[in-house]
Every structure is written in structure tokens, then in C-alpha cells.
Amino acid sequence: MKKQYETVIGLEVHVELATKTKIFCGCSTAFGAAPNTHTCPVCTGMPGSLPVLNRQVVEYAMAIGLATNCEITRVCKFDRKNYFYPDNPQNYQISQLYLPIARNGYVEIETGNTVKKIRIHEMHMEEDAGKLIHDEWDDTSLVDYNRSGVPLVEIVSEPDMRSSKEVIAYLEKLRQIIQYLGASDCKLQEGSMRADVNLSVREAGSETFGTRTEMKNLNSFKAIARAIEGERARQIELLEEGRPVIQETRRWDDNKESSYAMRSKEDAQDYRYFPEPDLVPIVISEEWIARVRSRQPELRSEKLKRYRKEFDIPQYDAEILTESKSMADLFEAATALCQKPKKVSNWLMGETMRLMKENGMEPEDLKFSPENLARLVCLTEKGVINSSVAKEVFEKIFHEDINPEVYVEEQGLKTVNDEGALRETLKKVIAENPQAVADYRGGKEKALGALVGQTMKMMKGKANPGMVNQMLREMLQ
């Protein structure tokens, strides 16, 4: 029989901070600019240029450190990490090794019914690298330094996770905290949140850790889950065959669902860290910490409490809505406009979630405005459209953010409330369905439903179902 193995996982999570400018110069961090337009002597490593630290980077890092229960390092410094690579214009990265800004924190994750603490070893500030584009045709690489110098924090966890489920829960938790702080948008596909997975396996019950590998290039939660399963299987296979796991960095290829070792003899992985002489120490006072804390936006637990007080929605709804800050923001904005929290919640919990799942989207990807959702709620509340029409209109809002008032008007989707027109249709339905009429009159309540259905069909869904029901009963008496 095969042995039982336990997977031991620690994460290094990189998060791009939501500052307007880069960490050491006044270049914009805006995503998607034309190549090398957001560059200057500092972020392209021109000789003689010098870095000056962006205050907002320190404050975002402090806020994340505080929200993840870390100790803030009162005197922290930057160090240089030296390695040659074309996306790294100085061939050293300004980072923190010896005195990182935050240490010894934790976050709590929930999987199933259990709550577990994942400890955070340390968190440091550093600069991002540029982007390399591989020109397959010419067999060369092209460098764009727009991203070079965008501020990052790297959050290093302890090896406290045991499954891909826990890893995803931890990442979702971090993302939720950081989004709530407004410190980053944490979009995996744009690279503003990236995770490297350190993984080892050991026989169940063992106290010592196995040899770990580091997995890079993981661009989605799904890729992370697949990479973890893949690497676990690879390491177990090695162990079963009596071969050693080699400590190395591996690159995950999500298309091939396999990884390969990145190491070459030219990568000594000896970073020769030393204190950055061009930057001075950061001394963080008690007052500064208090100031950052007081400016901290409402976090999820506080939001949950407020929802219970302010809005008449079930606890379950409040929990789901506040899971992501963008969803909660959408909820609050739409509710403020239409004053119908439960209705707004229903749209978000129901149709929105269904369509997101269908389209493989995250809450951050939602494009529609709270105004149009609020308009839709008002239209249904006033009975201008019925619920099946509303669903159809919502799909339009979801995908194209149309104005439902205009759309309903243009498409002629208003519910018909005109008694005369309805009476004509009902007469027709009664005449055409003698059997159902007889059944109803014979006491079969169910038969009424069939007649209502027929009526709605003839009116192309635009009739008010309540009115149809009531008039049918009258006419059949």
C-alpha cells in the first residue's frame, strides 16, 4: 500500500500597490501605456540617477502590515538585491532583506467549518521589474520599462498551508484585506497580485520538513491549484522512486500543466544583498502608525456589523456581499439610489453571481454601474416591467451597462396594465382552452396556472401576472 503524504506550502505573494507614481520616481504607474513612455533616468537605471522614496508606498505597506496583524519595524531600511536580467535596469533590485517594514503577523482563513491561522513571516517593500516580450520571429527579447519601479510589497508566509484549498483561501483573504484597504486592486491577470508557491511533501505524521521547491509564473487561482497538485504529485513520485527532491526554482507552464527547472549555470542565485546607500533609514513613530490606522477605511468585519444595523438583509447575504470590496461597493451605491437593499442584494446574489460564474469573472471585473442596477430595481418595483422581462434586461446591463429605462422604452417591454386589452386576450384564451376552463371550474386549482401561462405567452410576457390571475378568476366565476 502507498504511503500517505502531507503537502507543506508557504507562499510569497507580490502585490502591486495602488500609488499614482512609482516607488522611487515621479513616473506614472498607469497600466497599459505605450512601451517605455512611463520612464525616466531613475527607473531605467541611467548613470548618476538616484532614488527618492514615495511616502504613499510606506503608508500602504504599513496599512497592510497592520491589517495582517504584523509588528511594524520601527527603523526599517532598503537593501540592494543584485542579479543581472534585462528587465532589471540597474541589475540590482531595491528591496528589503535585513529590516523589512513588517514582521510576525497572521491572517485567519476558513475552509469548511474550521478556522486556521496562517502566519506571516515578514512583508517588505520593493520595486517591480520591467516587462520582457519575446519576439519569436527574430528570436530576441524586447524590454519595456513602464513597469520598472512600480511599488510592490512581498508578503512571505510561514509554511502553514497543507492544501491548495487553504492556499486559495489564504490568497482570497489577503486580496480581500488589501482591496478593502484600497492598497491594491489585486488583479491576478494584470499581474498586480502574483504568488510564488514554496512546496514540499513529507510522510504523514513526520515532524521534519522535506526539501522544497519554488514555483513561479502562476497567473490565476486555477493555475495555482493545478500547479500545487502537479508539484505534489511530482515530488511524491520522486520520493516513491527513492530519488531526491532538488531545492530549485521551477516555472509552471499552465498550458502543458507541468513545470521545469529555471536554473542555469549562469544563475548563481547569490544576490549579494547589502544596505542601499542611496536611501536613508525610515523611522516609524507611534504617532505615524496611529495616523495610518485612523485613516484606514472600514474593514470587512466592521462593514458586516454596519450592514446588519443599516440594511434589512439576511446575515447570509451580508457575508456574501462583503466578501469582495467591489461587490460591497456596488451594493451600497445601488442601494443608496433606490433604497431597496434586499432587491439589490437579490440581483447581486442571484443573476450577477450566475453570470459571473458563466463568464469566469471575478467581482473586480464587473463593468456595470450601480445607477443602472438601481434603475432596474425601480422599474420592477413600480411594476413597469415584470420579473421575467427584468431578467432579460439585467443581462443587457451586465454585459453592456445599458440604461434600462431607455432600453425598456425602445424595445417596448413595458408590462401591459390596460384592462381592456387584457380582457380581450383573456376571452380568447378562455374560448381556446375549454378543457382547462372545465377543469378549473371542476375544482382543479392547478388548471388556472396553465391559463395564466397561455395568456402571458400571447402577450409576449409583457402582462402583469398578478392582474392576469385576478381577472381570470373573476371571468371564470
Binding site: G45, M46, S49, V52, R80, N82, P277, D278
Partner: protein
């Protein structure tokens, strides 16, 4: 040539009074450079047309009353590790031989705001690594006082240019003595300010925690005026310091009464040339005669400054010079096979031997397993050296000693034994480690006619004390040791001794309009 004998401040005054125009001053130094350059090779780039254009602009502003400062219209030479937008800035290295920065160093911008006319860029040891200006890829500079000797380094080109009157003053940089030692060897005044006084923005870094830009001038008054012009708080340099008092010219008073001067006895030990020692003692006596209280004392830790320096400077340099890789600017090797081969060939071909030596040493001391033993140990030594100076400045206002153990060595003598060359920096290096201001002032000549300089060391921010002592000394000695080099005599010597008509220029350099020094 009377015009050339003027100091920068004297010339500035004549320009303001319309006795001389800025263009005339440029033409005068250019005529001198035409004679001197073939013998000395002080410049890497000398740009006559551009200098004349600047002179014309500056002259207009002087006439319009927009420029009224002491240096308006005065021609200056700039060390080739200071960036000037659009101008070749090579660090005397092959790897930057075609590099034109997109921006101008803050210190140079400050000079431009003061109405300086920039003549060109001066030769130096490659990336400021050296004590002789022989490691320049463009070939060595010669000492204007004796063509078979080096001018010192790394700011050898700047110091030679001032001594030979090829400019009225110059900017240098000093990481371990690179302003003070060549100033001493060339018989000019050079000052390394307190770390953080002059912005390093645009200075191509060697050892970032030690580098400072400073003036190289004909006398103390010029030195004060230039320092006043270049010193500023700069928000682009995080290590820049907000100083309240930058009015250095106010210090030019003839008064050292009661000034407590300490002479480190440890600076007069083994290895110090007797002629140098004698000149320094004489200089101390003169200040004593002027009313200073001179006392010998034990500074301690002197022998540990050089090893600590070479660990720190090499480590920082190994990192600072990583950016020269053939990707973004500068030289890239012609043939390569893949990325890492491109890096290695570019850097191996682009850097000279001394630079490679220090990069190797620096990379080694930072490599895995050695950091604590070398780098951390050096930083602790630095802390102790700083403490030793702190104790000294509790008792003294000023320290006085030699700048270098000897006068300028012969060309070719130093590079064959690097360690010996490094030992020549024994009196200057500790000043950089402790971030202190230090100044070299000419105080004599040896039997070969080579200049000897004393070094004045002050506590942090005490440049004024240095300037006051130097000025008082100059007045007391009637500036007899600050005489410029005799270029006609130099020409004769060269003919007599058939000194090889120096300095072959490497040919790959210099496209464009620049008149390259030859």
C-alpha cells in the same frame, strides 16, 4: 598671459566690470589648451564652439543684470563623471565612450545658474578608480609641473587643467581622496565637502556612501566661491542635507587666533616622505605663528581605514557598475551568443583592468557566506573610525596633516603594485568614511619641483573653519606655493627629454562636433 593668471573670482569681477568678456576668457584658455593639451591631456572633451556660444549667452545676461554672481562668465572644466545633458560623459571608460546623458547633474546645473561657462570634460581614472589618472581608457594625464610624473587621481584631469591654466577652476569628485590627492600633486586647492553638502544627482557613482563633488581651484577664495555655488539641498538626492549656512565666502578672514589645531601623530609614521613631512611641519608653524594653538595627538585606527574603505567602496562599486551591461546605453560587444555571453563580453571588453579588479573584489566580499566577515566588519570599523574623529573634534577645531605620503610618483610606477598605490590614500580615506570635509592646500615643493599639499580636516559642516585656516595661511605665505605650472618650461622639458609626445587617443571615440583633446 596676464588674463590666465587671474583667479576665478578676479576674472569674474573683471567680467562684471566689462574689462574682459566671457568669450575672451574662453579664447584665452582655449589658446592655452592648444599648447598644453598635447603634453598633458587634461581633457577628454573640449568643446570650444559650444563654450563660446555659452559665453555669448552668459554675457548677455550679465549685461542685462540677470547674472551678478562672482562666477558669472568664468570658464570651468568638469570631471567626466558628471552628467551634462547631450554632452559626452564617459567616466574615461570605453563602456561609456558614446554616452550622452539626458539630464544634467545638479552640481553642474547650480554652476550654470551662476553663469558658468563649461569648457569640457576632464580626464580621470576610469570610473574614478585609481590614484594616478592612468587607468583612463583615453590614456593618462601628465603632471603639469613635471611631465614624467602623474597628476594624481582620480580627478587628475581637473587638477592638471587648473594647474596648467587650461581653465579657471574645475569640479572633481572625491571617494577616497580623489580631489585632495591630485590637488596636492598639482599644487592647487581642492576641497571635499561634508557628505551630503553637494547633491550627487548626476554624479556617476563609484562608492555611493563616500562620493562627494567638490571644487578644485587656484586659491581658497575661489574654493569658497565655487563651494557656495554648487552646494544646495536637492530633493532628488535622498542623502542631501539641508544646511542653514552655505555662505562660505564669509569665512575668508585672516584670523586663526585661538584656533585649536590637532596634528595626528599617526600621520607622520613610516612611509611618509621626509620632504613632505618637513613642508607640513612648516605650514603648521606658520599657522601657529598666526595665533593658532597647535598640538600633536594620537588619532588611532589610521591603519584600518584603507582595508575598510576597499571593502565598502569595492562592494558598492560592484553593484553601482552592474548597470553597464550593453542593454540601455553605452558599449555593447559586436559578437555574442546569447544573453549572458553578451553581458560578459560587453563588460569584459568595456571595463579596464583596475575597474574589473575592484568589481571582482566587491562581488566576492558580498557573496554568500562572506558578508558578515567582510562587509559588516568594515561597517563596524567605519563606526569606530567615526568615533575616533568625534573624540578628536572634542579637543580640536581642525586637524592638519599631509594629504599624501609622497609627492606625485612617476608615470607607470603605481599600477604595477595596486596595494602600494592604495596605501598612498592612507591620509585621505578615513575622511570619506567619516563623511567629513577635507581640504588640500599647497604648502611647498620637493627637490624636483613637485608640489606638496597639506590636508585640513574639519568636523561635519565645518568647511568654514577649513577655508579660514587656508586663507590665513595663504595670506601669511603670500600665496607663494600656489604658482601655476610653467607651460613653456614644460614644453622645453618635453623636448629635452624627448618625452613621447604623450597620450595616444583611442580612435573609436568622438564623433560629432567636439574637439577632442589630443
Amino acid at each position: 598671459m596676464e588674463l590666465l593668471d587671474l583667479t576665478a573670482v578676479e576674472l569674474g569681477k573683471k567680467i562684471r566690470q566689462r574689462e574682459v568678456s566671457a568669450a575672451e576668457a574662453v579664447e584665452a584658455v582655449f589658446a592655452r589648451a592648444e599648447t598644453a593639451e598635447p603634453l598633458l591631456h587634461s581633457y577628454v572633451t573640449f568643446n570650444r564652439e559650444d563654450a563660446l556660444a555659452q559665453a555669448e549667452e552668459v554675457q548677455k545676461k550679465i549685461i542685462a543684470g540677470e547674472l551678478t554672481g562672482p562666477l558669472a562668465g568664468v570658464p570651468v572644466a568638469v570631471k567626466d563623471n558628471l552628467c551634462i545633458a547631450g554632452e559626452l560623459t564617459t567616466c574615461s571608460s570605453k563602456i561609456l565612450s558614446d554616452y550622452r546623458p539626458t539630464y544634467t547633474a545638479e552640481a553642474v546645473r547650480n554652476l550654470q545658474r551662476s553663469g558658468a561657462v563649461i569648457l569640457g570634460k576632464t580626464n580621470m581614472d576610469e570610473f574614478a578608480m585609481g590614484s594616478t589618472t592612468e587607468t583612463s581608457w583615453y590614456g593618462p594625464t601628465r603632471n603639469p609641473h613635471h611631465p614624467e610624473h602623474v597628476p594624481g587621481g582620480s580627478s587628475g584631469g581637473s587638477c592638471a587643467a587648473v594647474a596648467a591654466q587650461e581653465c579657471f577652476y574645475a569640479l572633481g569628485s572625491d571617494t577616497g581622496g580623489s580631489i585632495r590627492q591630485p590637488s596636492s600633486f598639482c599644487g592647487v586647492v581642492g576641497l571635499k565637502p561634508t557628505y551630503g553638502t553637494v547633491s550627487r544627482y548626476g554624479l556617476i557613482a563609484y562608492g555611493s556612501s563616500l562620493d562627494q563633488i567638490g571644487p578644485i581651484t587656484k586659491d581658497a577664495a575661489d574654493c569658497a566661491a565655487v563651494l557656495e555655488a554648487i552646494a544646495s539641498y536637492d530633493e532628488k538626492d535622498s542623502t542631501s542635507i539641508r544646511r542653514e549656512d552655505l555662505h562660505f565666502t564669509e569665512a575668508l578672514t585672516e584670523d586663526v587666533k585661538g584656533l585649536r589645531i590637532g596634528i595626528p601623530a599617526d600621520y607622520f609614521g613610516e612611509g611618509l616622505d621626509e620632504e613632505v613631512a618637513e613642508a607640513i611641519r612648516a605650514a603648521a608653524n606658520i599657522l601657529e605663528e598666526q595665533g593658532a594653538v597647535v598640538e600633536r595627538f594620537h588619532l588611532s585606527l589610521v591603519d584600518y581605514a584603507i582595508p575598510a574603505y576597499y571593502v565598502i567602496a569595492s562592494a558598492e562599486a560592484s553593484s553601482n557598475l552592474e548597470r553597464f551591461d550593453g542593454v540601455k546605453y553605452g558599449y555593447r560587444t559586436a559578437d555574442y551568443d546569447g544573453l549572458h555571453n553578451m553581458y560578459k563580453k560587453t563588460r569584459s571588453e568595456g571595463f579596464g583592468a583596475e575597474v574589473k579588479r575592484r568589481i571582482m573584489l566587491g562581488s566576492f566580499v558580498l557573496s554568500s557566506g562572506y558578508y558578515d566577515a567582510y562587509y559588516l566588519k568594515a561597517l563596524k570599523t567605519k563606526a569606530l573610525i567615526k568615533q575616533a574623529f568625534d573624540q578628536a573634534f572634542e579637543k580640536y577645531d581642525l586637524l592638519l596633516g599631509p594629504t599624501a605620503p609622497t609627492t606625485a610618483p612617476l608615470l607607470g610606477e603605481s599600477l604595477c603594485d595596486p596595494l602600494k598605490m592604495y596605501l598612498g590614500d592612507i591620509y585621505t580615506i578615513a575622511v570619506n568614511l567619516a563623511g567629513l570635509p577635507g581640504m588640500a592646500v599647497p604648502v611647498g615643493r620637493d627637490q624636483n619641483g613637485l608640489p606638496i599639499g597639506m590636508q585640513l580636516i574639519g568636523n561635519h559642516f565645518q568647511e568654514k573653519i577649513l577655508l579660514r585656516a587656508a586663507y590665513t595661511y595663504e595670506c601669511a605665505t603670500n600665496r607663494q606655493f600656489e604658482k601655476p605650472a610653467d607651460i613653456e618650461k614644460l614644453q622645453e622639458t618635453c623636448r629635452e627629454k624627448t618625452v613621447r609626445n604623450t597620450v595616444e587617443k583611442k580612435e573609436e571615440v568622438s564623433a560629432g562636433k567636439e574637439v577632442q583633446a589630443r
